[in-house]
Symmetry: C2
Subunit: 608 residues, 2 copies
């Protein structure tokens, strides 16, 4: 060993002991004839003191930032203690030292707040990884990984590895493919998830499977997407939805406790997809705060079970509301005294292209019980009061109203709600609120193809009460204009998403396990029998040999880490991430390959 | 939940309790009006008793093998107890039942000894996985996985994920490549190991890294190779070889204890590569037994430090020995009374094409101290006695001698030694003998290219005492005939293999961490500066910024499982293995992909 102790462990109890440390030079400071060095390793920082006697050697072997240094010396009590670090009570009186390796000047500072830009830090990722901020992220990731394994082990789950070189079955996202040299003209695909394998393991009787596993999707990347990402992938047999919800809220609570010390004792909130859409305008609401949406006007076809409040705004001659497909309101607490400048700024905010609305209507609920709105011309005080009451607004609140086409307006209002929640301090960093969203629609309508697509994936089962509807009806949509009246439009899925502070962190479903129902599902998605056999013949085959009822869930580990680490970006929690073009800047990958390799694979590049 | 108990947990203490079980029908037996069913799940088998009262229902819903069945009933004491299974004291008096899913007749029996051939079992892997024998293998694998993680965690190692979409740097084995849609004409490669990443993590200060990770090699497959395989991949900084050996023999001992209950308390044997080759004829000797090789004649250039015993056979006029490059002997204990038939059979054995020798010479060391050999014509009793003494043969032993070209003869003798060890019961299934093989040559001579190749990989460091030799000499081989006198031929590597019962289960090295030495290594392997930069620029770059001394090891998890599971084939320990053509027969992968996919990737198939 090059050391007897680490740079993080020496304390006042160690004084007078001789130790050998090895690590990186964080700083070198000279005070008169004495040199102080902060030596850093994975475990911490320890101050070294080089006395005058070593000056000749230091002159001959000058130390620089990020040099790898080995020293031997005596632990000594510091006169000016540093209360900010655990080793701050001591320093090492260096007896001898050896430079194990030198460093040229790093392109950015190795500090919590670095001066390096994103690209530079990606290129020199091996230096960025030295920064304490990044190290803490990877330590958090490992802690979550370990807590997950321990919990699932206790619950009887078995880690079983599934293959990476599988078959391409393009559904939804694009596959990455791998040309096979031994089978020329044929390709493997990298798994988008081990979905069918974990289902086969249930058919095989393994009962409780899990894996922390890399998955791959060849999608155009957004800031928070990576072509390779990690899933906590789980499946259980002989269970119903309730069992899965209980098991996996247990997992998340265990992780909270293990890595954040949080006792999340309360029950996890459950909400139907319909309620989420109706009350929050999206399917992954942040329920750390209220400010729910009031649906003042909604198209008849949307969320039909819910009461519409159309009377509140209809027939007042205000064209914007009268002509709009949807009118939505939220009540921002204690904002009635917003100035013109503030309301104008909010109006500009919703007009930005990302939000895309034409304007914002305000109703101030004054502290004295009176109302003041930007549409006073059209609405009497009584009508304003009725809106305020319906929106749950109190005196002192500010009602914000958006109107327009259904989907865009709902999305915009959801964004506006989150923005107001943030501005008003209602989305607290240290508050964690879990939510199950349930009862998703099984199908979504694909306008382009005038057909049904699976909202989740083709293996998700319908609610038991909807199975007859699914089996008994022809999935064909005769008339695009009336697709909503097709019986399939109302089939609900046995599916569930787990949402944490407005982020979907996991999702799953009870699966189809009957061959006939699975075939009907494939048929509904437009696959003929030949295609079904080619793509999923093995699964349909497996369902003939005694498939048990089963279901599962997958969590996005990268995202779980990011949220618990208090960051927006999953990239900060991946040791070697790729940029938005799917490039590893450090490696300079992807890259061209040798002609010999192409030749052996019997493929050609064919640039358009 | 579809059950209140599993099929493996009910005992005599549970009688009179009502339970609900779910599982698969293993067998159905009718005795008069009573039906017995063995119900199987992951945890075991429980006997069910259907009384006459259920016969109408059974007639309406007949049960078959592998049906998925849910039953509710009372636990009852069995009259004829089955001592072979843990639940053998009880049975369930079925009150009601429900068929959760049916099964058509499986293509082979779901039993320890199945009637299914390899191909059939691969095609219906989901059924093969139901067999207890296969399940035990996957359970062993999970236990090894978990023991590994627990030990490494205790030792301060951190699990850090490295990327799967990296850069192709063909050295040694072929890469699998992945065309990039976002970067047309460019390819990612799948990692053959996370080698450079774990070294970068050491440069980043992570100090103790591990990962249980899939790796990929596009090689022509042998029976015990898979295109994707799993490594226990580890790296440590600020360590020397001794630290790594101690840490990882600790790991293997911990695994022995955790999964086999074996206390492996003795020190792990250490042997130089040269001794292994000299005494056992190969670099992964099975040291459960002796029967070492006696080198009666060896070419002058081989293992020069070792004493040659040429005088024992030279100059007796026996052309086979006189002309042979190498003559090797082993003494098989207690075999002097082998019959002519037996010695002939052994001779045939070495003549098989896999071994490829021309013949086998015998010396019987008779119990009375006399000798009888197939070469009596050429060798006096005294010379035979001298050979016997040198070979450590005792009265009653049989000396086997092979002669021929160095490499083939050594290989053949190594095989013959293993075969004799097996026949004589000296390779016991329940005995585990660990061995470190050390001090490998750093380079191997590549005849075809008349150049040096890395025996291990290009990141392995030479012994400190050999660094000057390496730096100070031109790697160029002027004359192929005398390559052995090149100074590089004698450079030893800081490398180590762990061998278990004659199988290499892990290997690693202390790495190069100095840029200049790494460049010299690349140069020695024939890479010019441009190629070095293109392939490994990121690593050379990293070595400029303070790389610490480091080293590591990787274990082949599939093989560790196979050996501890007592099997020859790693395939039995992989949930979804591929066949020898790299095909997943169950999925039918690889397969053709859509033209649209090729189009988007901007590649074309170009079959020869």
């Amino acid at each position: 060993m090059f050391r007897t102790k680490t740079c993080g462990e020496l304390r006042i109890a160690d004084i007078h002991n001789e130790v050998t440390l090895a690590g990186w030079v964080q700083t070198v400071r000279k005070f008169g004839s004495i040199t102080f060095v902060d030596l850093r390793d994975r475990y911490g920082i320890t101050q070294l003191l080089f006395s005058e006697a070593l000056n000749d050697q230091l002159d001959a072997n000058p130390l620089g930032r990020e040099f790898v240094l080995q020293i031997t010396g005596k632990v000594s009590e510091r006169s000016n203690k540093n209360k900010n670090i655990p080793t701050g009570d001591i320093e090492i009186l260096v007896d001898r030292f050896s430079i194990l390796n030198k460093s040229i000047t790093p392109p950015f500072t190795i500090q919590d707040e670095t001066d390096g830009g994103d690209d530079l830090r990606m290129k020199y990722r091996f230096l960025d990884l030295r920064r304490n901020a990044v190290k803490k992220n990877l330590e958090l990731r490992y802690a979550i990984n370990r807590a997950t394994r321990n919990y699932l082990h206790e619950q009887g789950f078995m880690d079983i590895e599934t293959p990476f070189l599988i078959k391409s079955t393009p559904e939804g996202a694009r596959d990455f493919v791998v040309p096979s040299r031994m089978n020329p003209g044929e390709f493997y695909a990298l798994p988008q998830s081990p979905q069918t394998f974990k289902q086969l393991l249930m058919v095989s009787g393994y009962d409780r499977y899990y894996q922390i596993v890399k998955c791959f999707r060849d999608e155009d990347l957004r800031a928070d997407r990576q072509p390779e990402f990690t899933q906590i992938d789980c499946e259980m047999a002989f269970v119903e939805q309730e069992d899965i919800l209980n098991t996996f809220e247990g997992l998340v609570k265990h992780i909270f406790k293990a890595v954040k010390g949080i006792d999340y004792t309360e029950a996890v909130t459950r909400m139907s997809w319909e309620d989420a859409m109706w009350q929050y305008g999206n399917d992954k609401p942040d329920i750390r705060f209220g400010m729910q949406l009031l649906n003042i006007k909604a198209p008849a076809h949307v969320y039909v079970q819910k009461e519409r409040n159309e009377a509140l705004v209809a027939g007042a001659g205000f064209g914007v509301f009268d002509d709009a497909e949807t009118v939505l309101a939220i009540a921002a607490p204690r904002c009635s005294e917003y100035t013109r400048k503030q309301t104008d700024e909010l109006t500009e905010w919703v007009k930005r292209p990302q939000i895309g609305m034409k304007g914002l209507v305000f109703i101030k609920c004054n502290a004295d019980g009176s109302f003041k709105s930007s549409v006073d011309k059209f609405y009497s005080e009584d009508r304003l009061k009725a809106i305020a009451e319906a929106a749950g607004a109190k005196p002192g609140d500010l009602i914000l109203i958006l109107a327009g086409a259904e989907e865009r307006t709902r999305k915009a209002m959801s964004e506006l709600r989150l923005e107001m929640g943030k501005r008003l301090g209602m989305r607290k960093d240290d508050e964690y609120r879990l939510l199950w969203v349930l009862d998703f629609p099984l199908f979504e309508y694909d306008e382009e193809g005038n057909r049904w697509v699976a909202r989740h994936h083709p293996f998700t089962s319908p609610k038991p009460s909807d199975i007859d509807t699914m089996i008994g009806n022809n999935p064909k949509i005769e008339n695009a204009a009336t697709y909503l009246s097709h019986p399939y439009a109302n089939i609900k899925a046995n599916a569930y998403d787990m949402v944490l502070n407005g982020n979907e962190i996991g999702g799953g479903s009870i699966r189809i396990y009957q061959k006939e129902l699975q075939q009907k599902m494939f048929e509904a998605l437009g696959m003929d029998e030949q295609e079904q056999q080619h793509k999923f013949g093995f699964l349909l085959g497996a369902f003939e040999y005694g498939a048990p009822p089963h279901g599962g869930i997958a969590f996005g580990l990268d995202r779980v880490c990011a949220i618990l680490g208090g960051s927006e970006s999953i990239r900060d929690f991946i040791a070697f991430p790729k940029n938005n073009s799917g490039r590893d800047i450090m490696l300079d990958a992807p890259a061209t390959i040798d002609d010999k390799q192409l030749d052996e694979l019997q493929i050609k590049i064919d640039l358009k």
